[in-house]
């Protein structure tokens, strides 16, 4: 089974209490299903799900985007740079 790397930031990192983790992926996994998996693993993410965006290999990705082994997924709460 292939794995994907998850990287958490800001409030999401505080909730899951880790910076990174690896999860198993299957052929049909999309950005939307990855997020569902993460919420199942870390129910604390649930209240912020609607405001979270996921990046795949450093690009913001649509929910339907296919995820494959070796991808790096960023879990990105609303940003506040500047």
């Amino acid at each position: 089974m292939a794995k994907i790397k998850i990287v958490y930031f800001a409030g999401a990192r505080d909730v899951v209490e880790r910076q990174t983790e690896f999860i198993e992926t299957d052929a049909k996994m999309t950005v939307a299903t990855v997020l569902q998996r993460l919420v199942k693993l870390h129910p604390g993410l649930k209240p912020m799900t609607r405001s979270l965006r996921l990046s795949v290999n450093h690009e913001v990705a649509e929910p339907g985007h296919r995820v494959k082994g070796g991808d790096e997924i960023g879990v990105l709460p609303p940003v506040a740079g500047g």
Binding site: A10, S51, S55, V60, V79, G82
Partner: protein
């Protein structure tokens, strides 16, 4: 081709250096925007703050914004710097410097770049207010 410089940095940002970098014999105007840490926010009196960045992606996005600006406006040079880590009140958090043949383009391009930085670069801000640390609620990142 416009000259482009971007960096995410832990060290202090020097706006004068950004200004010098974008100086150009063909420029009739240079606009330098400097963002600084304010002592108040919606949470109250701010004692300091911390920027957390998704380093690789933030650097990539800052460069992409500078390139986009250079494509949209006939600019001579663009420099963008953003801090990460802990900052004190009054410190410079971001600098956007743009030079162009005419001032209108330099103003527009600079304004566009700072607005894009706020919505398109994965950087988060945590303020220290009354001894608690609070993530500033920003906007969902846009591609």
């Amino acid at each position: 081709m416009a000259r482009i410089r971007t960096a995410l940095t832990r060290g202090r940002i020097n706006p004068s250096r950004a200004f010098r970098e974008v100086q150009d014999p063909g420029a009739g105007g240079i606009v330098v925007f400097t963002g600084t840490i304010r002592n108040r926010s919606e949470f109250g009196k701010v004692d300091g703050l911390e920027y957390q960045a998704y380093r690789e992606m933030a650097q990539k996005k800052m460069k992409a914004i500078a390139e986009e600006v250079a494509k949209k406006w006939p600019v001579k040079a663009v420099s963008i710097y953003h801090r990460e880590g802990r900052l004190k009140i009054g410190e410079v958090s971001v600098v956007v410097a743009v030079s162009s043949a005419h001032r209108a383009q330099a103003f527009e391009a600079c304004r566009y770049a700072i607005d894009r930085i706020k919505t398109g670069v994965p950087i988060w801000k945590r303020e220290r207010v009354r001894r608690t640390k609070l993530w500033v609620e920003g906007k969902p990142i846009r591609a």
